[in-house]
């Protein structure tokens, strides 16, 4: 089932939660809504679920306009951050609840609940109450309940946020594999970009009620169209430095009050055609220690991340984060020379906050 969203708007009083949202979600696609809290992603999800009615615009399931269709008539399954299991019902009753409301016979309920529970690996917990289950088990029950009625669209509202880090990793893989296997169109709301990047076919990045970008994870990461996407997607976040670019022979000089960096790259050439101030973006993994590096600064903070250290280098008043191997044994206070991978640089117009490289 494909889902189309056209010019969707939602206001609560004078507060605009979602503004002119346009999205097309293909049948069987896994789309993530990514953004900071309050960006309108959950509001959008609840409109797709039919809990909220849109103030304006159209939501289509297939060819059918569902704006005013009740949630029960949309054939959707939903998984919540808090699991939202019914505490007074057993696991069996929880999963069977959607079937019971549909008037499915007791025998068929038993068969389908068992099948759904087995898929989720909770087939032996059916007689328990939600209170007797761990967080991970509860989330599996919630998934089982969402899947049991074979929904056309699956909605996830930050389903992994309450789980511990390790379990989150496992469930991430499981949900993705399950979704691919069942081929159910899925919409996944999260503020965790790692979840979005690893699970989704496409990511809709939202900010303050507006759609910032709607692209594949790779495109978002490599070709950020706005400054917001560049700084929001990627962990640790991209370094953003104010800079001016000037052509000098066949090299481009990138400089500001504290640094002067001659580079040769197509991206820099494109940036040099722009006059005046620019914002340069460079990811920490594209900053490397180099004995003859053009940048020199003092290490301010070292954050060991296990495989790598993240170092925070002060260059004049500017800060530059870099990922370096732990073998270098960098300590706070060290002076280091750094080089930048010029082929991975990003450039943004400071006024419009849009990329100079990608449109």
């Amino acid at each position: 089932m494909k889902v189309d969203i056209e010019q969707l708007n939602k206001s609560f009083g004078t507060v605009v939660a979602v503004h002119d949202l346009n999205l097309d979600i293909r049948a069987g696609e896994f789309v993530a809504f990514l953004g900071p809290s309050g960006c309108g992603k959950t509001t959008t999800l609840l409109m797709i679920a039919g809990i909220y009615k849109p103030t304006g615009g159209v939501i289509r399931f297939g060819e059918r306009v569902v704006n005013t269709v009740q949630p029960r008539d949309r054939n959707i399954g939903m998984v919540f951050q808090s699991y939202a299991l019914y505490p007074h019902m057993s696991v069996f009753e929880n999963i069977a609840y959607p079937l019971k409301l549909k008037g499915v016979s007791k025998d068929e309920q038993r068969v389908r609940v068992q099948r759904s529970a087995d898929v989720m690996g909770i087939g032996d917990l059916l007689h328990r109450r939600p209170g007797q289950l761990s967080g991970g088990q509860q989330q599996r029950v919630a998934l089982g309940r969402a899947l049991v009625k074979e929904p056309d669209v699956l909605l996830f509202d930050e389903p992994l946020s309450n789980l511990d880090a390790r379990l989150r990793l496992t469930m991430r893989g499981e949900i993705k594999a399950l979704q691919k296997r069942l081929g159910i169109t899925s919409i996944y709301v999260t503020h965790d970009q790692v979840e979005a990047l690893t699970m989704a076919d496409r990511i809709a990045v939202m900010n303050e009620g507006l759609l910032e970008a709607y692209d594949t994870p790779d495109d978002l990461y490599d070709h950020p169209k706005t400054l917001f996407i560049a700084s929001f997607v990627g962990n640790p976040p991209m370094n953003i430095l104010p800079i001016q670019a000037a052509l000098e022979g066949d090299a481009v000089i990138l400089q500001n009050d504290a640094l002067r960096l001659p580079v040769r790259s197509e991206r820099a050439l494109k940036a040099a055609q722009q006059h005046g101030d620019l914002l340069m973006g460079v990811r920490p993994e594209d900053v490397t220690l180099s004995a003859d590096g053009a940048l020199c600064g003092e290490v301010f903070v070292v954050e060991p991340l296990g495989r790598e250290d993240m170092i925070d280098v002060r260059i004049g008043q500017h800060r530059l984060a870099a990922l370096v191997t732990t073998e270098k044994r960098i300590r706070a206070g060290n002076r280091v020379r750094l080089d930048i991978n010029a082929d991975k640089l990003q450039f943004f117009d400071p006024a419009s906050k849009r990329s100079i490289l990608w449109t």
Partner: protein, 334 residues
């Protein structure tokens, strides 16, 4: 203060939680602690002064033949007659009628108003616009916060016999047959009391419904419930404890309430038509005709009520598993 979870327990155990780390089952540690008892003192003083001593006094007076004829304030001078008052009470030809009146009054008022209507209003106001629901609930609180005498006087004007009475004026205007208060006396007794008692359940139920997580409410809709199915399968089962609590608390409070009936009908019209047990105790002891107050006999009525109340309270505490509900003192978890 230590941070480890401590044993919850009896009231005493709660007080002791600050000084013991035993996880043992709800037993306070053997060593009595002066500080703990000191903290309990205000409550103990109140209970002793305003419940224990009066109850013992009433119990004693119910075994004397104290009336206004042989009045004395000296307990030693009162004539002890054992259980004679109770024998009289159980053979009293009106006691049975009054008992049934009381049962009828308590059960009907509770079913229709204190539980039924309050649940209905709570469900209704939690399903509509928040501001409108606030106004409705505020309106329903009015009978509770209006002074009893004023409230009853308003009702008496309202239902006065024809040609007076706002109700009859209105009925007359639309061509209806006028009604007399005495005809529908029980109806009005129940309505008048119910509208006061309703707000209690309404506040409890509304809070309980509002505290059901939004996710659960939304999940129920997504799973395919209509609003009514959600009420039946999700909300009502989750209100089990508030329901039991309101039922038990309101039986006790209705059993002992008589002020509104006293002011509205004074137990009449006719012979004990709306007389309830608590009102009888009052009538016998404090307001008998010809100024002949039978304190001893009236106390016997009160004692029966106390016994019923204590038995019911004990039963409810078992049903509630009261000890399980005694929460960890919040200060420990800060």
């Amino acid at each position: 203060m230590h941070c480890a979870p401590t044993a919850t327990g009896t009231f005493l155990g709660m007080g002791m939680a600050a000084v013991t780390t035993t996880q043992s089952k709800r037993t306070s540690s053997g060593r009595p602690n002066l500080t703990a008892y000191l903290f309990l003192m205000p409550a103990v003083v109140l209970v002793v002064l305003f419940f224990l001593i009066p109850t013992i006094l009433v119990l004693y007076i119910s075994m004397t033949n104290l009336t206004s004829a042989n009045f004395t304030a000296d307990i030693a001078q009162m004539e002890f007659i054992g259980f004679a008052n109770f024998t009289t009470l159980f053979n009293d030809q009106f006691a049975q009628k009054i008992l049934f009146n009381t049962l009828f009054y308590v059960l009907v008022t509770m079913a229709i108003f204190n539980v039924g209507a309050s649940l209905f209003v709570s469900l209704l106001t939690t399903h509509i616009n928040r501001r409108a629901s606030f106004v409705f609930r505020a309106l329903w609180l009015l009978p509770r916060i209006t002074a009893g005498t004023v409230y009853i006087m308003m009702w008496r004007r309202m239902i006065a016999d024809p040609p007076f009475g706002i109700l009859n004026q209105a009925l007359g205007a639309v061509g209806g047959t006028p009604i007399t208060g005495s005809e529908y006396v029980w109806t009005f007794v129940v309505i008048v009391n119910g509208m006061i008692g309703m707000s209690f359940g309404m506040v409890i139920f509304t809070a309980a419904i509002e505290s059901i997580s939004k996710d659960i409410m939304n999940a129920a809709l997504v799973d395919g419930s209509t609003m009514l199915q959600r009420i039946r399968y999700i909300i009502l089962p989750l209100l089990r404890w508030p329901l039991l609590f309101v039922i038990s608390y309101q039986t006790l409070s209705l059993l002992t309430s008589y002020e509104q009936i006293l002011l509205l009908t004074n137990g009449g019209p006719g012979l004990y038509q709306t007389e309830v047990w608590a009102l009888t105790a009052y009538h016998r002891a404090l307001s008998n005709y010809f100024g002949n107050a039978q304190w001893g006999y009236g106390s016997a009525f009160a004692v029966v009520l106390v016994v019923i109340g204590v038995l019911l309270a004990a039963l409810y505490m078992r049903v509630f598993r009261f000890r399980d509900l005694v929460a960890e003192p919040k200060i420990e978890t800060l």
